[in-house]
């Protein structure tokens, strides 16, 4: 169930919430939409789910256009909107039954599907409670259950772990990974670790435009600045500044060295080396040759967070 978005634009009044974006989602892929609040993630999802029409461009789900074949598209999609709206006066079972009826699930399949959703989403204990009585975590699970009850080929989840405590977050992520295995999933979030934990691919959106598109590893790779190595050497008889510092600095590819001082019996250094270089081996040999004791040598990878900051902070309008 592939999704094709081409030159999508959406205006709220004169403001461009989504500005000429294009991307594809392959069948079975879990795509993460990452972006600051107001970037256009929710708007894009609302267009894909046929809640609102685009102002320009097109969206096709499995070849069906969201404007021409809206009914067809909606049959294939399971949607968890932002803020997870629910009917507070219904109990969980009633609500799931209602959802299955609206999706045209045949009478004989309704009960088995409901049982499966209750089990998979862990709603067994609360299934006879009114939704209004449930905690946020359980409500989120009901929202997910409703999105999946008709076994749709596409899942659109808008901030599915919003407002959950860390335990609940892990559970929901696990659920998404599990159920998303054979489905095409788009989930939006502004929690970077979530993207890393659940998604095959990431699109970073900022101010209505796509600023990055790739796997988490590829993005980290692409946006890697200079390499950073943290080095801790044992303090010995030698003086760190006069003896160690210049020797470290003179190694090939080293662009900059910071001496952070002495902490107990450790000398701490931070090395910045050229992009793409990995001097850990030379550093090790150098240490051996000079009789330094290496207590710690860590190469830090550009985190997705840094990628995010780079891409979204830089886009701030200059006032």
């Amino acid at each position: 169930m592939a999704i094709a978005v081409r030159n999508l634009t959406k205006l709220y009044g004169t403001e461009k919430a989504v500005d000429d974006i294009s991307f594809d989602v392959k069948t079975g892929e879990i795509l993460g939409f990452l972006g600051p609040n107001g970037a256009g993630k929710t708007t894009t999802m609302k267009i894909i789910t046929c809640y609102m029409p685009p102002n320009g461009g097109s969206v096709e789900v499995d070849g069906h256009s969201v404007t021409e074949h809206s009914l067809e598209v909606r049959k294939k999609i399971g949607y968890l909107p932002e803020h997870n709206p629910l009917y507070m006066d219904m109990n969980v079972i009633e609500y799931l039954e209602y959802s299955s009826q609206l999706h045209g699930i045949s009478k004989s399949d309704v009960k088995p599907r409901m049982r499966e959703m209750v089990e998979v989403c862990g709603l067994g204990d609360v299934r006879h409670k009114d939704i209004g009585e449930l905690s946020k975590g359980y409500r989120q699970r009901v929202g997910l259950a409703q999105a999946m009850i008709h076994d749709p080929e596409v899942l659109i989840l808008d901030e599915p772990t919003s407002g959950l405590d860390p335990n609940q977050i892990v559970e929901i992520r696990h659920l998404i990974r599990q159920l998303g295995r054979a489905k095409t999933v788009i989930l939006s979030t502004h929690i970077l670790s979530e993207v890393q934990a659940t998604c095959d691919r990431v699109i970073i959106i900022n101010e209505g435009k796509i600023v990055a598109d790739g796997t988490p590893e590829k993005l980290q790779e692409d946006f890697r600045g200079s390499e950073t190595i943290s080095l801790e050497l044992k303090a010995g008889v030698t003086n760190a500044m006069t003896e160690m510092f210049p020797k470290i600095k003179s190694l090939q590819h080293v662009e900059n060295v910071n001496y952070a001082g002495q902490d107990g019996n450790k000398h701490k250094f931070t090395l910045h080396t050229a992009k793409g270089s990995d001097i850990r081996e030379e550093l090790f040999h150098q240490a051996v040759a000079e009789n330094w004791v290496v207590l710690e040598m860590t190469r830090s990878v550009t985190s997705l967070e840094e990628v995010f900051h780079k891409l979204t902070r830089a886009e701030e309008p200059k006032k």
């Binding site: 609302k46 609102m52 009914l71 999609i77 909107p81 709206p85 609206l102 999706h103």
Partner: protein
């Protein structure tokens, strides 16, 4: 699911699902019972107390009073139908399900109308009271109930339309009353209107057609009126749903 060949290819199954859910919702809510109680308290106050004083074997007055009371309490029944969905955001879920807007509107309309019907049912007590004490002509009684049902149908449609326009139930209530009152009183203002307008305005009045049917005669003109008012108002509601998505 069953897609009977209704006009515009609406699925009966979907309408039925929404109908059942909304009707159940009415019985789960306190508002519904309050409304029924208020209806009968008012009926008792204005009408029932005077049945024996009137000394006439007719339900005419009951239908008139019922019509006026419903004018105010039907908007109270319809106010949450769409306004609440707009406010809580469930409208987003509802309109992204594979449903047509017409199915949503019809399902909610029929549920409220059915609830009004259930509210009217106990008035049979008045009928029984009079029928056992005098010779009542059943023709106007049947006509009266039919007219009342049709008239309340139009009120429900107006209230539903009002509810679709806002997120605020109170606003929905007030706008609903405005529409219903306008339709009801339009033929009471004929004296003040210029001659050429009187015919049209009288035709537009819900009360005018109701009175016709309540006499016991079912004239096609009146049926056409109710059918087109219902159709028009429900259509407006569908358009209103569409508009919100833009």
């Amino acid at each position: 699911m069953n897609t009977l060949t209704l006009p515009f290819k609406l699925s009966v199954g979907n309408i039925a699902s929404i109908f059942r859910k909304e009707l159940k919702s009415y019985f789960n809510s306190a508002v519904a019972y309050v409304v029924i109680v208020v209806f009968f308290v008012l009926m008792g106050w204005f009408y029932a107390g005077n049945i024996f004083l009137m000394n006439a074997a007719t339900l005419r007055d009951m239908f008139e009073y019922a019509g006026i009371i419903f004018l105010f309490i039907i908007p109270a029944m319809t106010m949450r139908l769409l306004a609440e969905e707009n406010k809580s955001g469930t409208i987003e879920l509802l309109t992204t399900k594979p449903l047509q807007d017409g199915e949503i509107v019809l399902g909610k309309f029929l549920a409220c109308w059915a609830f009004v019907g259930i509210t009217i049912l106990p008035t049979l007590v008045y009928y029984l009271t009079i029928a056992t004490h005098g010779e009542i002509d059943n023709g106007p009684v049947l006509g009266g109930y039919l007219g009342l049902l049709l008239m309340t149908g139009v009120y429900v449609a107006c209230g539903l339309f009002a509810s679709s326009l806002t997120e605020n139930q109170i606003v929905a209530f007030m706008v609903g009353i405005f529409f219903c009152v306008a339709l009801f009183f339009v033929d009471k203002t004929l004296i003040f209107m210029p001659d050429f307008a009187t015919g049209v305005l009288q035709y537009l009045s819900v009360d005018y057609h109701f009175s016709n049917i309540a006499r016991g005669v079912i004239d096609t003109r009146d049926v056409v009126y109710f059918a087109s008012m219902l159709g028009f108002t429900l259509y407006l509601t569908v358009v209103s749903l569409e508009r919100r998505k833009w």
